[in-house]
């Protein structure tokens, strides 16, 4: 028995009160969709959780009509202060039911309970609490006096932070006075549907929030193409982002896109190495690397490369992979079979292209979708694992000699979402941060999120910001470009 052999400490699922099946939540009512149904499963066990009704184009039509009706008759006529009070209520209800949501999210997504309990769900509450206070202060948003809402917002969110992405979309939209039709991701609809319960408990007027699970190619596309939608907010892949931008060309619909990334995490030789190692691990192994802003490219100064990689592998070897509901678990399951196949394929390509592969030696559960944390060294800038977003627990290590070289390599990507800098030299930190073409830069930290802090990308990582005052512009008239 080694020090790693903890006794299991699983979080109980008794707190859940799930229904065997979920319909669509449209206009304050649960109605079956016409797009068939699917079973949402736990990626850690492949066991089914619930049957989910799916929306087709006619359901999207109904949802948009319900959102429009509530916008016209209730929400746009309500004072900002009253709107804000509904959002405060939602924030409080989320806090009250935080553990229940954390367990459900871990079950449906596969991420460790430690993360849903300590990061995802607390941030959801914080996001609603932050934007609640904005609802009656829109004059201070920097868009001129009395800025008007856009109307109906169509929102399409990914599976990596299911409820948190809902909060990032719904909270600012409602605060700004819009009503929403939200389509959760195919593999993680559960907490969005539970959120409908929160809306009910908050007494939110019917139709202000509509939740419509469905397939991206059916419900998602219908929402994007719907003439009654004034605004599309999408978080997901750059490929789908391009399609959305193309579809909406020539329309009046406003768009914000939060897309992929290939973040550089730059470690200089004057960094606090042990802290940097923790940051590198947080940067790429948080949420199994299913993070658009992950620090997936480690750029380490050549003279400390061996030391950093050695410490990194040693530290990684102490991480625990397994049951996401276990409170000791650091690394959970990959979200889906498809994503696992993608990670497996791209890492095989990286190896074939000449990179050296190191994989954590650990046991994998017999059921579910799992991928061992992997580090590639000897990676060239042209290697697929240095260029393509993997969206999994895979780190590519590249080296540099001078700060200028680090900056050039960090910016050598069509993406521009995040970057990290590790140095104890504050002047160098500020100068490098200035030169990085990325929307979020973490210096001597990584993967920090806060509702007051704008988040979003440069270049092909999308446009628009979420969070803080800047996040309001996406949901108000006079917001500028598209």
């Amino acid at each position: 028995m080694s020090f790693r052999d903890y006794a299991p400490a699983p979080e109980s699922t008794a707190i859940l009160n799930l229904r065997p099946s979920y319909a669509l939540y449209i206009g304050g009512e649960w109605t079956d969709g016409r797009g068939g149904s699917m079973t949402t499963i736990s990626p850690a066990t492949e066991k089914s959780i619930a049957e989910i009704s799916l929306a087709d184009a006619s359901d999207i039509d109904r949802a948009v009509a319900a959102a429009r009706k509530s916008y016209d008759t209730v929400w746009s006529r309500m004072s900002g202060a009253e709107r804000g009070k509904y959002l405060f209520r939602i924030a409080r209800l989320i806090q009250e039911r935080a553990r229940e949501f954390a367990v459900a999210e871990t079950l449906d997504n596969g991420k460790p309970i430690r993360e849903t309990r300590d990061i995802d769900i607390p941030l959801v509450a914080a996001w609603f609490f932050h934007y609640a206070g904005w609802a009656d202060k829109l004059d201070y948003a920097g868009l001129g006096p009395n800025p008007s809402a856009l109307g109906v917002a169509g929102q399409i969110i990914p599976w990596n932070f299911p409820l948190l992405m809902l909060a990032w979309k719904v909270a600012p939209a409602l605060a700004a006075g819009n009503t929403v039709v939200l389509k959760p991701a195919e593999t993680t609809p559960l907490t969005a549907l539970m959120f409908a319960d929160i809306c009910e408990q908050a007494g939110l007027p019917a139709g202000v929030v509509n939740i419509v699970p469905g397939l991206g190619g059916v419900a998602g596309q219908a929402l994007v193409e719907h003439a009654g939608v004034n605004k599309i907010a999408f978080t997901g892949s750059t490929g789908v982002g391009r399609q959305i931008a193309r579809t909406l060309a020539g329309s009046e619909t406003r768009v914000t896109l939060e897309l992929g990334g290939k973040g550089a995490n730059i470690v200089f030789d004057d960094a606090a190495i042990d802290e940097a190692v923790e940051g590198i691990i947080t940067g790429i192994f948080f949420n199994q690397g299913h993070v658009c802003c992950a620090g997936s490219r480690l750029l380490v100064q050549e003279n400390i490369q061996d030391e950093v990689v050695e410490k990194l592998t040693r530290r990684l070897s102490t991480l625990r992979l397994g049951d996401p509901l276990d409170k000791n678990t650091d690394i959970g399951a990959v979200n889906s079979k498809e994503q696992l196949a993608r990670i497996t394929a791209i890492t095989a390509t990286g190896e074939a292209e000449g990179a050296n592969r190191w994989t954590l030696d650990c046991e994998l559960p017999s059921k579910g979708f799992w991928f061992r944390p992997t580090i590639f060294t000897n990676v060239t800038t042209s290697n697929t694992v240095a260029r393509d977003e993997i969206f999994g627990p895979v780190l590519s290590v590249l080296s540099f000699r001078t700060p200028d070289e680090a900056i050039v390599k960090a910016n050598n990507t069509p993406y521009g979402l995040s970057a990290g800098i590790w140095t104890q030299n504050a002047s160098r930190m500020l100068r490098v941060a200035d030169s990085l073409r990325a929307g979020v830069v973490w210096a001597n930290t990584f993967n920090q999120f806060d509702p007051t802090s704008p988040f979003g990308g440069y270049k092909e990582s999308g446009y628009g910001r979420e969070g803080g005052r800047h996040g309001l512009a996406a949901y108000l008239a006079n917001g500028g470009a598209r």
Binding site: L257, E460, G468, R482
Partner: protein, 287 residues
């Protein structure tokens, strides 16, 4: 005895120089009464690409200049334009048939537009950025930065040819973008004379590049160019704007749709349309 005048050869403005179109093509420009004014250069795809290369090369220097410096340079452009006020009035009157008083009002407004933007350079980051009170021991700041290379389709509005051009260029320059401008087909001569103003105003070569020619032909090349970061379609016709927006989707280029801003509008949000917000987190500790 009358003296024979020396007419100007109108060329393109790329990288601080005045080359002819590599295509050798020109378009005849006449006054409303039908008299010949000039053969202006008709830019090609190659010219557009050269202009993007020049803009990209100039961008980092301009974006990296201090806000105070950019403000002084923009103010210098206003000074140079003021000095040539009569020349612009005469050219606008000749080419459009406008009343001299109206032409004078337009040029004056263009000068004032530049002064307004000159004053914004060192205030914009303060107003549009901010300190974020995050729930943790972090120093967290959001600042606007220039988007990069911006393509501008200058509006073609009768009676506002110069003002429309200046109203397109100034907001992008304020925060440090480098631009490639497709001049209005209604007023190519005024655009190229404005290039002379820029060339004598301490604006680094390549920060502003001006092309004359067919907007419908060249704008889609710029919209599909992988090294262009944003495109302002204020002056594009409906059909070409849709084509450009669709092409821009491939690189997720930022797009300002026609009608977002008035053709001669100066607005804070027009400056904000060509910036990216960068948020930097830094740990705080006594260790």
């Amino acid at each position: 005895m009358s003296r024979l005048a020396i007419p100007k050869t109108y060329k393109l403005f790329i990288g601080g120089k005045f080359p002819r179109s590599e295509s050798g093509r020109t378009t005849e420009v006449s006054s409303p009464t039908g008299s010949f004014i000039a053969n202006v250069a008709k830019a090609s795809r190659k010219d557009a690409r050269d202009a993007v290369v020049a803009a990209r090369a100039a961008w980092s220097g301009w974006a990296g200049a201090s806000a105070y410096n950019r403000g002084q340079v923009l103010y210098r452009v206003a000074e140079m334009l003021e000095g040539r006020l009569d020349q612009f009035v005469a050219e606008i009157v000749e080419s459009t048939g406008a009343k001299p008083a109206d032409a004078r009002a337009e040029v004056s407004a263009a000068i004032d537009c530049l002064v307004w933007h000159a004053g914004w350079t060192d205030k914009f980051a303060q107003v549009h950025g901010g300190a974020n009170p995050v729930a943790g021991p972090f120093f967290n700041l959001s600042v606007p930065e220039s988007t990069g290379v911006v393509a501008l389709v200058a509006p073609s509005v009768a009676g506002s040819s110069l003002l429309g051009l200046v109203s397109s260029i100034a907001p992008a320059l304020t925060t440090g973008n480098a631009v490639v401008v497709l001049a209005s087909e209604l007023a190519p001569c005024a655009a190229m004379t404005f290039a002379e103003v820029l060339a004598t105003s301490d604006v680094p070569g390549g920060v502003v590049n001006i092309l004359t020619g067919s907007v419908d032909e060249v704008a889609p090349w710029l919209a599909s160019h992988a090294d262009v970061n944003a495109i302002d379609l204020t002056g594009a016709g409906r059909e070409i704007a849709v084509e450009c927006e669709r092409a821009a989707a491939e690189t997720l280029m930022r797009v300002v749709r026609p009608g977002t801003f008035g053709p001669t509008e100066s607005a804070f949000n027009r400056i904000a349309a060509f910036v990216e917000i960068k948020t930097v987190w830094h740990t705080k500790s006594l260790a």
